[in-house]
């Protein structure tokens, strides 16, 4: 069917049914039922992943897939409306969870095919009692406004009820009238509410009456709904754990109202599947409070039949300590989820994988339909972004807008302007990406620290290049934040994620026209490692020298260490040093210089050899060979340019030649001469033969 998300088949599949179809009981995009996987206990699904992994897009797609077929609500915990109460509304009568409940109920109420609106009388009376805690007889206009929004949750808009708006205004008039005498307002409001709910004879009013008695089960209410609501209001106002308790009851009221809409043969026969609630950024207070309340109630045996999909930035949250963890691929056919005893075991944490090279190919192909896309661009895009859906989509969009203008490398696509909306001016793609990946301040600091390799070098950099008030605490805080947000860590890099690091370094390079900052930061790192005489320090130093354009030091080091070092270690050093960013000159506006062509290929292919004068007393042939090899690896592993097949071929030749010079390491060099060219062309990282795993340090 119409699928706009790539690589998310395990969730959206219909035949065999994917996770969404099995939980909701209806196929996405179609009004067709699907067998349930879980009958009584439902898992609270949490999609986990770092920024840019497409969680928000996933939830939005679920909403699109079920909109109009079953009630769907989507809230984002980080939205501004959940951050704090509106002006002139006291904090005592407002909480993110209560506001989230109002928003969710408003969305769920929308009619779907085959069934009318859902009304939420229990939630409405609870919310009214809570809101009344912030009312006084001074601000009638605000009371009207708040009460109307809450009371409209009751509105089923059935023709049987006549004009629902009339009922609402009648009740509001009653509420306002009950305010007229000074003194406590909560009690009269609750009284007037319950009274209003108990009038009328239509089926809707019968439901209202039944709903009005629901709060008599509130603890200590003694079977009196009015007392229950007063206690609820009081607990809410008290704040802290009492408020959490009250909020739990409000959540329960929402779920009870939903259950009511699905109760009975007649009501069920109008509906297909289960209602769906989508919570983005569940780690934010509004989402977390909602999730914790649902998880606790479910653990306590108060079941409901609402399907929750939520998105968590990062991979851990205290409330999800015992959550069942799966990858998306694992839940494609069955979740294997069994609830445990703890509330958190009611959650199913599904980590979203990055997209595959094939997905990248499809996305770029779809975005650049009709354009002449360089054949290696999709794989190179995947190598740069590491499969980040956000990165791939934005780069694809940039390719669509900039390829016709002559942009060739990924670097050009990142620095090229991209307009995401037709009526917006374009901005450089890397800035758009950084705005989304690092939205909450500290971007400048992180830009500097991206050059660091570990905490020590980061602290040194901070001391040297950042304001004094940032200091060590700032460094540690940033490091923790990166972990919390789900960014991977990597040995030898302060910013573990290669894509984010590449973007930050690009930003660093473009901070000022003459790259003064860029140079200063690298110089600072070199200085930091200058005092140490370890192999790693040398590698780091040479890496940054290379970034500043000084290739000779690296060539010297590699040439001198070649005969005496173990071949695997030597190759590892080669790859790491060559992973230095290569930013050549650019014009004052930050765009690549038009004639600033990449000189690495020319060096690697030996075209500059005649002009070279190897130092006295060294093996000139080896010197030149190492120099060509370094530039070849540098070019081929640079994520911002497309690998040059000619250079790859030359790389194979050079490694073969080297293998003859090291009888002990022939096999390794020979292996590398076979693997590296093809890996480089395919966008795969270069692996050191004999190492198991991918060799993290060789990526960037």
């Amino acid at each position: 069917m119409h699928r706009s998300l790539h690589g998310r088949g395990p969730l959206f599949d219909t035949d065999p049914p994917g996770l969404a179809a099995r939980l909701v009981g209806a196929r996405p995009y179609q009004l067709r039922s699907s067998p349930y996987e879980h009958q009584d206990d439902l898992p609270f699904v949490v999609f986990a992943g770092g920024r840019g992994l497409g969680k928000s897009a996933l939830l939005a797609e679920i909403r699109t897939a079920y909109q109009g077929h079953t009630p769907v609500a989507l809230i984002d915990g980080e939205e501004a409306q959940f951050a704090g109460p509106p002006a002139n509304r006291p904090r005592a009568a407002w909480s993110p969870v209560a506001h989230a409940l109002t928003t969710v109920a408003e969305q769920l109420a929308e009619p779907v095919k085959g069934a009318g609106r859902i009304s939420f009388p229990r939630l409405a009376s609870g919310l009214l009692a809570v809101a009344a805690g912030g009312w006084s007889d001074r601000n009638v206009a605000r009371i009207r406004q708040e009460a109307e929004r809450i009371l409209l949750l009751n509105d089923s808009r059935s023709f049987l009820d006549g004009l629902a708006g009339r009922w609402v205004s009648k009740v509001i008039a009653k509420l306002v009238a009950s305010l007229s005498n000074a003194g406590p307002v909560v009690e009269p409001i609750i009284e007037a509410t319950l009274e209003a709910f108990s009038e009328g004879v239509s089926p809707t009013h019968r439901r209202l009456r039944r709903a009005a008695t629901w709060f008599r089960d509130y603890p200590n209410a003694g079977g009196n709904p009015k007392l229950g609501l007063i206690l609820l209001s009081g607990h809410f106002r008290a704040g802290g754990d009492s408020r959490t308790h009250a909020e739990r009851f409000l959540v329960r009221a929402l779920l009870a109202d939903l259950d009511d809409a699905y109760a009975g043969v007649m009501q069920r026969s109008h509906r297909l599947g289960r209602p769906v609630v989508l919570i983005d950024n569940v780690q934010a207070p509004a989402g977390r409070g909602l999730m914790e309340a649902v998880l606790r109630d479910r653990a306590d045996g108060l079941g409901d039949q609402v399907v929750f999909f939520s998105a968590l930035r990062g991979y851990a949250l205290p409330a999800l300590r015992h959550a069942v963890r799966r990858t998306l691929a694992e839940v494609a056919r069955t979740t294997g989820w069994e609830p445990g005893s703890s509330p958190s075991s009611r959650a199913l944490l599904v980590s979203l994988p990055p997209l595959t090279p094939d997905d990248t190919l499809h996305i770029v192909g779809a975005l650049c339909r009709g354009l002449d896309v360089p054949p290696q661009l999709p794989h190179a895009t995947h190598r740069l972004t590491g499969g980040s859906p956000l990165g791939i989509t934005l780069l694809g969009e940039s390719a669509r807008q900039n390829l016709p203008g002559g942009a060739e490398s990924l670097g050009a696509l990142l620095t090229g302007d991209v307009a995401l909306h037709a009526d917006h001016d374009g901005r450089p793609a890397y800035r758009e990406l950084l705005d989304r990946l690092v939205p909450d301040g500290r971007l400048d600091e992180l830009t500097v620290l991206a050059a660091a390799h570990d905490r020590d070098s980061a602290l040194a950099l901070a001391e040297d290049r950042l304001p004094d008030d940032f200091g060590a605490a700032g460094v540690l805080g940033l490091q923790e934040r990166l972990t919390e947000e789900g960014w991977p860590t990597a040995d030898g890099q302060f910013v573990g994620d290669p894509f984010l690091r590449a973007l930050l370094l690009l930003r660093l390079h473009h901070l000022d026209a003459d790259h003064a900052q860029w140079k200063a930061v690298h110089r600072a790192v070199i200085d930091h490692y200058g005092g140490r005489d370890t192999t790693d320090a040398a590698r780091y130093r040479l890496h940054h020298e290379l970034a500043l354009g000084n290739a000779d030091l690296a060539v010297e080091h590699l040439r001198d260490t070649f005969p005496g070092t173990e071949v695997g270690a030597w190759l590892r050093s080669l790859v790491f040093i060559a992973s230095a960013p290569y930013y050549h000159a650019h014009d004052p506006e930050g765009h690549d210089d038009s004639d600033g062509h990449d000189h690495r290929a020319a060096v690697a292919l030996g075209r500059t050899d005649p002009a070279q004068r190897p130092p006295e007393g060294v093996d000139a042939a080896l010197h030149l060979r190492v120099r060509r090899l370094l530039h070849a690896v540098w070019q081929l592993t640079d994520p911002l340019v497309l690998p040059d097949p000619e250079v790859a071929e030359r790389l194979r030749f050079e490694l073969e030649q080297l293998s003859n010079l090291r009888p002990g390491g022939t096999a390794l060099l020979w292996r590398a001469s076979r693997d590296w060219p093809s890996d480089a062309l395919a966008g795969r990282p270069l692996r050191i033969p004999g190492d198991d795993g991918d060799g993290d340090g060789s990526q960037g």
Partner: protein, 513 residues
């Protein structure tokens, strides 16, 4: 199509409430379709209310109580008039009389007879309901068709029986007509069921009671004289002696011809002139080779003594026509000859094979008729019938040219069918009304059956064809028999009334015991 299917599959089928509603709706639609189909197929079998096609036939058989004309447009006007009259009647105030005739016959001559009988029956119904001082019960007239050949008589008899037992209060059947096997069976079945029957144009002796002392059809009354009576009347009319007449008879003959033959032989007893016989084909409506026999008979006639001026013919109409044509070519056209025969002679009025010039050669053909419009115009006997009675009918016919009586279509009285049918209906009306006990609206069937024996004396029916006084077997006693003569133009001319008893009945009109 795909979108409709998708809509049905997703928007209707998947939402159970809609699915059940759709199934319910589909069931209702299917049921309605089946019902409509059944009704449609039933309509296919039906011609009109009460009238339908029997299995394997496209004839329309049954009893019609509506303005259905059996597909014969010549009936339409009369049938509409009947329907109008029937609709005027209040339920419970009437008895039903069925006119039993083969309405779907196709022969034009037969259809003419039927049309005239229909008109006669209706006029009598109208008269009974309007002109007789609101006597009760009123008369409702329905049409019973046993099919063109009468084959479906059983169906119709069953229906009539049901009507006799049901709210239709059928109390008499009139009509019947020719003496066919089916009619005999129908008559037998009806009378066995106790339904009174009044024969209109039946003359055959075997469709009568009292022949050989037996009453095979209890409840049958007739308004036409039997063949025997006709022959007797003819004999009294002829007044010929042995030397004046030659008998020509059918051999072996059928009941009709033998009846005539017997009467003629009695008249000619002791004659020296030998009777001449002829042998027709088995189906006497076919010409066959009898033409040759009649040419020989014609020459025999010329050889007879000059005193012979009358030929008494005991045969059917086809043979009569052949004889007349042969006599037209006889050698002795200077001798005046008269052919006398029974009511078969009336068929020659419309026979195109008759050579008209035969009648211009000193030859006349005279025969008895059931009734004749001129019978009471010229010659009025004191008893046995009267001009006033005939005039009543004439007036009614005049009024029937427009509303409220008519229209009833083209009226023709020459063949006597209208008159005789009118008289039969009047007899039925009288019987029904006389049999109705005081205080009751409707007579019991058995009372009507018994009523026939009282129709005599002052309770006689003064018919337009003459007095109708029934004997103990339901046969008319000394009924006036008009003798008519065939004219060269193909019509008929009234000659004189003849009487079976030789003279008109006495004023009391009481049949001898």
């Amino acid at each position: 199509m795909a979108r409709l299917w998708r809509w049905l599959r997703e928007d209707v089928w998947e939402i159970r409430f809609r699915r059940y509603m759709a199934l319910l709706l589909a069931a209702v639609v299917v049921a309605a379709a089946v019902w409509t189909g059944l009704v449609m197929t039933r309509v296919d079998h039906s011609c009109a209310p009460g009238v339908s096609h029997p299995e394997g036939s496209d004839d329309c058989v049954g009893v019609s109580a509506t303005a259905y004309d059996f597909g014969r447009s010549r009936f339409t006007a009369t049938v509409r008039a009947i329907d109008r009259e029937n609709h005027r009647l209040k339920p419970g105030s009437y008895v039903t009389v069925a006119l039993f005739l083969p309405f779907t016959a196709s022969a034009p001559a037969t259809l003419n007879d039927i049309q005239h009988q229909l008109q006669g029956a209706y006029l009598a119904q109208y008269q009974a309901n309007h002109d007789t001082n609101d006597q009760s019960p009123a008369i409702r007239l329905v049409l019973a068709n046993p099919g063109a050949d009468g084959a479906h008589w059983q169906t119709v008899v069953d229906r009539l029986d049901a009507m006799a037992k049901g709210p239709d209060t059928l109390r008499a059947v009139t009509g019947i007509g020719q003496s066919t096997d089916s009619n005999k069976k129908a008559l037998r079945a009806l009378t066995r069921l106790g339904i009174p029957v009044i024969g209109t144009s039946i003359t055959a002796d075997d469709l009568a009671n009292g022949q050989g002392g037996k009453d095979p059809y209890p409840g049958l009354a007739r308004v036409s004289p039997t063949n025997t009576d006709e022959a007797r009347a003819l004999a009294s009319f002829a007044q010929v002696s042995g030397g004046q007449a030659l008998l020509v008879y059918d051999k072996p003959g059928d009941p009709y011809t033998r009846t005539l033959q017997d009467s003629f032989e009695k008249l000619l007893s002791g004659s020296r002139i030998a009777p001449q016989s002829f042998t027709p084909p088995a189906d006497r409506t076919l010409d066959g080779t009898t033409g040759n026999q009649f040419r020989q008979i014609a020459s025999v006639v010329c050889d007879t003594p000059k005193t012979v001026n009358t030929i008494l013919f005991a045969g059917r109409h086809t043979q009569l026509r052949q004889l007349v044509n042969a006599l037209g070519d006889r050698g002795c056209t200077d001798r005046r000859l008269t052919v006398l025969t029974g009511d078969e002679g009336s068929y020659l009025t419309g026979d195109t094979k008759l050579e008209p010039r035969a009648l211009t050669r000193n030859l006349s053909v005279r025969y008895t008729a059931l009734a004749h419009p001129d019978a009471w115009r010229k010659e009025t006997a004191a008893t046995g019938g009267g001009a006033a009675d005939a005039k009543t009918l004439d007036d009614l016919i005049t009024r029937s040219k427009g509303e409220p009586v008519g229209p009833i279509g083209q009226v023709a009285l020459q063949d006597g069918q209208l008159i005789i049918s009118y008289d039969a209906m009047r007899l039925a009306v009288q019987g029904l009304r006389e049999a109705t006990p005081n205080g009751r609206a409707v007579p019991p069937l058995a009372e009507v059956v018994n009523e026939w024996s009282f129709v005599k004396g002052s309770h006689r029916v003064n018919g337009a064809s003459g007095w109708i006084c029934l004997d103990g077997h339901g046969n008319p006693y000394d009924k006036a028999v008009p003798v008519v003569e065939l004219t060269p133009s193909g019509g008929s001319r009234f000659v004189r009334i003849a009487w079976p008893e030789g003279k008109p009945p006495a004023k009391e009109c009481l049949p001898p015991a």
